[in-house]
């Protein structure tokens, strides 16, 4: 793998507010709001957009199979190159990378990456998420994403001594950060005790350890170096990308012959290794100023910081409790509040890219981390088997 044929950067970001329900907008209108905001933020017009990548995960939540093709006119994609990307929860990260490929290939100067979700259109998201499992064997085990995450968390606790209190610190920090983010779905002042006393969904995961089901939309405009220079605009350069897929079977990631470990997020470690190589990052703690980690459950953030090289697996819990990953800490993680505070599944990983880009662009407002030169955004999907990683920097590398 070499250098990109053409350098590319994010020059526009658009997001809606994230809420449980947004009844006043249709799905297509919701997607349009994000698309319009991103294009305006890039100081472009819809006619300047040459190609569109649509970020849409399972359509069963909002109930229209061709949601992307329904939204095509609304997101200014009609009569343009258009494709939808879907890798489960990682969809937004994969879509951002697909948009990057449009520009990095040299075939396009601009590409809009946009998507939306209305998870609460279904009365029971976890019923839908049971359908991701094998119909012959696994579905009857009551597997869904919460029970799946609980099994993984138990393994992390057994292997690294992680405690429910470590996880509670992640929650408290995320909710506190989200108070600075006007778009966050959940936010507020939580105490460690309140988290620990919340009801169990699936041991050891409690209510506050789990992400919400959100509605909302997100978009970024990716442009070539030529467009960036013409516009003389500030840019979040896409300096490194990586993605890794693994087997669906969680048991195959726990047995003696395993290639990777379910609770180590080895897939993210490998994806980050490639992204860091491209971005010439050798010491992530020193060289990354902020991380937006797709952590739908509190324990996932502990796995994520270790996989990104920001901590060892054993130390992740202790460093979290010490404030190492807080705003003002050594490497702030999820200053936006992260996935624990907003989870519009089709674009949750794209929101991570949006928030990382906003940090590099200096546009994160109340949750801006000072002097950001490099940020990382991740996505995870399936049975924690799909991981994506994108490094954004303030200068091309």
């Amino acid at each position: 793998m070499g250098a990109p044929t053409q350098k590319a950067a994010i020059i526009g970001v658009g997001e809606t507010d994230y809420q449980t329900r947004i009844p006043e907008q249709t799905y297509a209108e919701l997607a349009q709001e994000a698309a319009r905001k991103a294009i305006e933020d890039a100081h472009l017009s819809p006619g300047d957009i040459e190609a569109v990548v649509y970020s849409m995960a399972p359509t069963e939540f909002m109930g229209v199979t061709d949601a992307d093709k329904w939204a095509i006119d609304a997101v200014f994609g009609r009569s343009k190159p258009f494709m939808r990307v879907h890798t489960g929860g990682a969809t937004g990260g994969s879509a951002a990378q697909a948009g990057y490929m449009h520009v990095a290939s040299g075939l396009y100067e601009t590409c809009l990456v946009v998507g939306a979700d209305k998870v609460s259109e279904t009365p029971d998201a976890q019923f839908i998420l049971n359908l991701i499992w094998d119909p012959f064997f696994e579905r009857d085990f009551a597997l869904n994403t919460i029970t799946m995450a609980a099994l993984q968390t138990v393994r992390h606790m057994a292997k690294y001594g992680t405690t429910e209190k470590d996880m509670a610190h992640v929650v408290v920090s995320s909710w506190k950060n989200a108070q600075r983010n006007p778009r966050a779905h959940l936010k507020g002042v939580l105490t460690i005790d309140a988290v620990l006393e919340s009801p169990y969904f699936a041991w050891p995961l409690k209510r506050y350890d789990c992400c919400p089901r959100s509605s909302g939309a997100a978009a970024v405009v990716i442009a070539s170096e030529r467009v960036v220079r013409q516009k003389a605009t500030r840019a979040a350069w896409i300096s490194g990308v990586g993605g890794v897929a693994n087997t669906v079977y969680m048991g195959d990631r726990m047995g003696g012959a395993r290639d990777t470990d379910l609770c180590d997020w080895t897939e993210l470690e490998l994806a980050a290794r490639e992204a860091y190589r491209q971005a010439k990052i050798t010491d992530p703690v020193k060289e990354l100023d902020v991380a937006e980690i797709y952590a739908p459950f509190s324990s996932n953030q502990l796995m994520g910081v270790a996989a990104l090289g920001l901590s060892s697996h054993h130390q992740a819990g202790a460093l979290t409790q010490e404030g190492f990953f807080d705003l003002g800490g050594e490497v702030p993680v999820n200053p936006s509040g992260g996935t624990l505070c907003a989870n519009p599944i089709a674009v949750t990983a794209l929101v991570r890219v949006c928030d990382a880009a906003l940090q590099v662009l200096g546009k994160a407002g109340g949750y801006q981390v000072p002097n950001v030169h490099a940020a990382v955004a991740t996505g995870v999907g399936g049975s924690f088997q799909f991981q994506t990683c994108m490094v954004l920097t303030d200068e091309p590398r």
Partner: protein, 361 residues
């Protein structure tokens, strides 16, 4: 220097309704055969692009299960949901980016285990379209009725084109009832749908400099893709505009004209769509597609005839696979291959293959 991309190995199922294998077994066998065709192993690929539909697969995030048999274990993998040919396009973009060297593209559908009409109904937005129930083939029939009226077409030409395709030598027999599904389209105007998997291995020009493959490269010299409005009434009635855009762009990028193309592989789920295709890419004038198919002497889709069994969703990549294999031993220099996506063929993708790398992207 910017890389270029070529097909170095491929495999596909042919005219198959597969009752005795699970989908993932079919995917594994086809992907494995494509690697063998390329003369490489799974370790040699650095990325995988899947093209499939959760809804046709009957499983949310179906790639959770299917990515591994497609070869994606600990590889960089992504899925598109438009068509098999869109998958090839994203795979090619990855190669052209300079960040990848050898990739696998796999697409499939196992329609023997689902009811596509139920999936198409779920594709309709709930405020207007779903109550109208305008799904394929009704949507296609609405377009066909307008086409017949606008150009004064003798509807028996739709029968004649279907019969021409169905009666090609070597094409399996399928029952084809001459009953109307929706005027002017009859059941006998449609190709029989079958299960299908297609896999293509693509490599960068740099990869060719570093290693040997089993076959000469089939260069992906041009590609274009375009999607029209969601509502049929907003697309215009003068043929498939998005296919016109996509094919023109693909040929421009390839640096060749349509007259230089030796092999054409177009969507043929029905005789009407085949007619629309030959008109949109410019083989025939508007309103004269059927006559061209019947009288020009050109054997359209001779290397990949969907009327022997049409695999929905992956048909474009299936066509690529069949045509690539055939071109290796023929004197044909250039091929133009089409795939479609969405209700009433809302979007199209076109790829131009060539024996030579000169010119093009």
């Amino acid at each position: 220097m910017a890389p270029s991309a070529a097909i170095v190995g491929t495999a596909c199922t042919t005219w198959l309704t597969c009752q005795d294998k699970r989908l993932e077994e079919m995917i594994f066998e086809t992907a494995q055969a494509a690697l063998q065709d390329a003369g490489i192993g799974r370790d040699d690929i650095d990325n995988v692009v899947l093209a499939a539909s959760d809804e046709l697969d009957g499983r949310s995030i179906s790639s959770m299960l299917t990515a591994m048999p497609a070869g994606a274990l600990l590889k960089d993998e992504v899925k598109v949901t438009d068509s098999g040919l869109h998958g090839l396009i994203l795979g090619t973009l990855r190669i052209l980016s300079g960040l990848y060297d050898i990739g696998m593209v796999v697409s499939w559908s196992k329609v023997s285990e689902c009811r596509p009409s139920q999936v198409w109904r779920g594709a309709l937005e709930p405020f207007f379209s779903r109550d109208v129930g305008a799904i394929d083939p009704l949507l296609s029939a609405a377009h066909a009725a307008r086409y017949v009226a606008d150009y004064g077409i003798d509807v028996s030409l739709l029968d004649a084109v279907a019969n021409r395709m169905r009666n090609r030598p070597g094409t399996p027999d399928f029952d084809a009832a001459p009953t109307y599904l929706a005027y002017p389209l009859k059941a006998s105007h449609f190709a029989p749908t079958v299960d299908g998997v297609a896999a293509v291995v693509i490599a960068s020009s740099q990869a060719f400099a570093q290693r040997r493959f089993a076959h000469q490269p089939m260069w992906i010299r041009g590609m274009g893709w375009d999607t029209d409005a969601y509502y049929l009434g907003q697309r215009g009635w003068d043929g498939w505009k998005s296919l016109r855009i996509a094919s023109r762009l693909a040929l421009e990028r390839a640096g060749i004209s349509l007259s230089s193309v030796d092999v054409v592989g177009l969507e043929d789920i029905s005789s009407f769509e085949l007619i629309m295709g030959v008109e949109a890419i410019g083989l025939a004038d508007q309103g004269h597609g059927a006559e061209w198919i019947l009288d020009s002497g050109y054997s359209i889709n001779s290397l990949a005839n969907g009327f022997g069994g049409y695999p929905p969703f992956c048909a474009g990549l299936w066509r690529i696979s069949r045509i690539t294999q055939a071109m290796r031993s023929s004197g044909a220099q250039h091929a133009l291959v089409q795939g479609r996506t969405g209700q009433g063929a809302q979007g199209h993708a076109v790829v131009v293959l060539s024996q030579k790398s000169e010119g093009g992207m």
